[in-house]
């Protein structure tokens, strides 16, 4: 009996132990053989991605699709995404400084390379030469618009800091139906053609242009000045403590032309606060507006599916420095942080973001793709050939913001008045000359 008791006890204990231990074990532990061979590593990896998008907006949905496609192919990798929205640009460096581990960050390529640079961002020169995900025989770098890919490098090491996935170009958007109604066959390419077109529109009872001064006076200013004196010429004026540059030939001609152009502004343009101006354009109240390739998706609901979108480059001027293929452009890019423990896996994810499969999604939601051979569709279809033929890319507002407070506090408000017909060219130039003497440190 004693022996039977001992055996019963042992069996009970074993059964209990096996139950307890099996309960502790993971329910489904895949054996290495079950895992897909494409995985760059068999270890479970989590990539932390701080996104500049909101989950519900079109690009957020595209990023979600990229994450799903990537995770399906790499079951051992989890992309832990936080939809930070645009505010991420103010949080990112503070978060890294405070010790937050972030692997992937997306933002403006200029900001990533110049503002964050080598201190926060991993150089990608050795990565972009890897084969692209789904374009046979081409590296990642080969598939992307070179003008965008090479626009910014970090200051210290001269590295490529991000992979562009959603470029933008600042352009004049026009309402093709209104141009046709006025009898204008082609969008203007020179200042003379432009003024003639504005006059023709006026005769047809259509106002020429509008914009949102609180958001876009800076690019109106920088991108127009670029045609006359180039970004270097503008910077020279913005930093000339004597103020003499404001009486130089190119600057004077620029101001006079802008005064002439202001005659065709939609009345009340200076009172527009974003998005009033672009809404006026989408409602058909005005023939053109200066904006970026993100515009059509912002006003899609107002414009409706029948709106006939067209786009043209800022017209050039005889004797001017800028050419018709110079553009204020940039891109959103995906970068890997310096603190990432899994840069190779993170780059694998970036390959998905710039794959044909995902970039097609970008095009489908009406945004611009960074792939050279993937035409844009819908309202920005006209902008694709302009982008493809671009020869020079310059930064936001011809880099005017780099010059400091004089640009922000004196030149922008005065130009706002000039381009909306509240100030003459002579007053503008005299005011700038005067303020340059006292307000440029």
């Amino acid at each position: 009996m004693n022996t039977r008791k001992v055996i019963t006890l042992l069996i009970t204990l074993l059964t209990l132990a096996s139950l307890i231990l099996s309960g502790c074990a993971p329910k489904t532990t895949p054996t290495p053989a079950e895992q897909p061979t494409a995985a760059p590593t068999a270890e479970p990896v989590t990539l932390v991605y701080w996104s500049m998008w909101n989950e519900d907006e079109p690009m957020g949905q595209v990023m979600k699709a990229a994450i799903e496609a990537f995770q399906a192919a790499h079951p051992n990798v989890t992309v832990d995404v936080t939809w930070q929205g645009r505010g991420v640009r103010k949080l990112f460096t503070a978060a890294i400084d405070a010790g937050t581990v972030i692997d992937l960050i997306d933002n403006d390529t200029g900001r990533i390379a110049l503002s964050w640079g080598d201190k926060y961002i991993l150089g990608l020169n050795d990565y972009v030469t890897q084969p692209s995900l789904d374009t046979a025989g081409k590296s990642v770098a080969d598939t992307i618009f070179p003008i965008i890919l090479n626009q910014y490098i970090t200051k210290d090491s001269g590295s490529m800091a991000s992979v562009p996935f959603n470029p933008y170009v600042a352009l004049w958007f026009y309402n093709k139906a209104e141009f046709a109604q006025a009898g204008i066959a082609q969008p203007p390419t020179t200042f003379e053609e432009w003024m003639a077109a504005n006059e023709t529109l006026k005769t047809a009872g259509i106002d020429g242009f509008t914009f949102d001064p609180d958001y876009y006076t800076d690019i109106m200013l920088g991108d127009s000045a670029q045609r006359y004196v180039g970004c270097d010429g503008l910077m020279a004026a913005l930093t000339d403590k004597t103020g003499a540059a404001w009486q130089s030939e190119g600057i004077v001609q620029w101001a006079q032309d802008m005064e002439a152009l202001s005659a065709y502004a939609l009345p009340g343009t200076s009172a527009n606060l974003y998005p009033a101006g672009q809404q006026a354009f989408a409602l058909g109240d005005v023939a053109t507006t200066y904006n970026g390739t993100w515009l059509p998706s912002e006003v899609a609901e107002t414009a409706g599916p029948d709106f006939q979108w067209g786009a043209f480059s800022w017209p050039t001027v005889t004797g001017g420095v800028g050419t018709i293929t110079d553009y204020d452009m940039g891109s959103q890019g995906m970068a890997i942080t310096k603190v990432s423990q899994h840069p190779d896996v993170a780059f694998e994810f970036i390959k998905y973001v710039v794959s044909v499969q995902i970039q097609q999604e970008v095009v489908n939601v009406g945004y611009a793709s960074s792939l050279v051979d993937l035409p844009w569709s819908g309202p920005i279809a006209d902008a694709y050939p302009l982008m493809k033929n671009a020869t020079t890319a310059f930064g936001w507002a011809c880099n005017g913001w780099d010059s400091g407070d004089f640009f922000a506090n004196d030149v922008i408000p005065a130009f706002n008045d000039l381009i909306t017909g509240k100030m003459t060219a002579d007053t503008f130039l005299a005011t700038m000359e005067e303020k340059a003497k006292t307000n440029i440190p």
Binding site: K90, D97, D214, Y215, S270, D285, A397, W401
Partner: protein, 304 residues
């Protein structure tokens, strides 16, 4: 039980320590930072500059102008808000029907989020093409006012001030109203019997008895104006014409708000130390205003 005063300390300690941690510590740390040049949020790169940040701020045209701006808001906005608050308090205590409805209606603007209120004012009321102000002034035949571009950078400050007064009236009406309601009826009645007019009764009886309430309200108003941030930010965040000290502080700490999607350069540079110095200046100004107001309205215990 023996009255042990040390126990008071032990019972209060958790609250006092928590308060010191969340309130006093940031003040002390900001003050500490204000003497350094700090170019990142971790404070890993700090350079002692003494009063350098304060000197830079005192030489900054933008910062000084921003104080002039809140000075105008304090004075003109204050006149608008307190004038309206007294008027509404007088009306609400005059025995009108539907008092609680009107009181709620006057307070209503405070319940609307600033961002929504700003959108309503800028995109609808002040809209140059179809706005309420245009329609009203046109109907009245005041064409010059109907065509005024309220939301252009030239007039945006005044447009914001009007909206700000609208947003602040409810709050201060409630404070003043509570004071007015405490003034004993019989004092006013006996004054009326003695032949005092309504204005005389207001200036000789109500106003003196409200002194403490007014002092508190003015202190609150001053602090609110010193820290004014949400209205200018929601109204026209890129326009220099509405920059307040708090907005300037924010742009120093987190980079320029202007510059659109792709602006680099100035947009990426942060001046944490200088922002802290601006914060210290704002704190000192608040303390100064409090001191001055305490001198102006000497505290007296009035019993009635």
């Amino acid at each position: 039980m023996k009255n042990d005063k040390r126990m008071i300390f032990f019972f209060l300690a958790p609250a006092v320590l928590a308060y010191m941690f969340v309130s006093i510590y940031p003040v002390l740390h900001s003050t500490f930072l204000s003497f350094f040049e700090v170019s990142s949020w971790s404070g890993s790169e700090m350079k002692f500059v003494g009063l350098g940040n304060f000197i830079e701020l005192m030489q900054s045209k933008v910062f000084l102008e921003s104080f002039g701006r809140i000075g105008i808001i304090w004075l003109m906005g204050g006149a608008g808000i307190f004038g309206s608050a007294f008027l509404f308090s007088a009306l609400l205590t005059s025995g009108i029907k539907g008092k609680s409805f009107f009181r709620s209606a006057i307070y209503l603007p405070n319940l609307i989020p600033v961002v929504a209120a700003a959108a309503m004012w800028t995109q609808y009321i002040f809209n140059i093409r179809f706005g309420l102000s245009k329609n009203i002034f046109s109907a009245l035949g005041l064409e010059s006012l109907a065509s005024l571009e309220w939301t252009s950078h030239t007039f945006i400050f005044w447009a914001m001030l009007i909206a700000y007064i609208w947003g602040g009236i409810g709050h201060f009406t409630l404070i003043i109203l509570a004071g007015v309601e405490r003034v004993p009826r019989e004092l006013l009645e006996s004054a009326t019997l003695d032949g005092a007019t309504m204005l005389q009764a207001f200036f000789k009886i109500t106003l003196p008895l409200l002194r403490d309430v007014i002092r508190v309200a003015v202190v609150l108003w001053s602090i609110v104006v010193l820290n004014l941030f949400a209205y200018p930010q929601a109204f026209a965040q890129t326009y220099a014409e509405v920059t307040t000290p708090a907005i300037y502080l924010y742009s120093l700490a987190f980079g320029q708000t202007g510059g659109g999607a792709g602006a680099t350069g100035a947009a990426g540079v942060v001046y944490v130390g200088r922002a802290a110095a601006a914060g210290v200046i704002l704190t000192l100004m608040a303390a100064l205003i409090y001191g001055v107001l305490n001198l102006v309205f000497k505290e007296e215990k009035l019993e009635y």
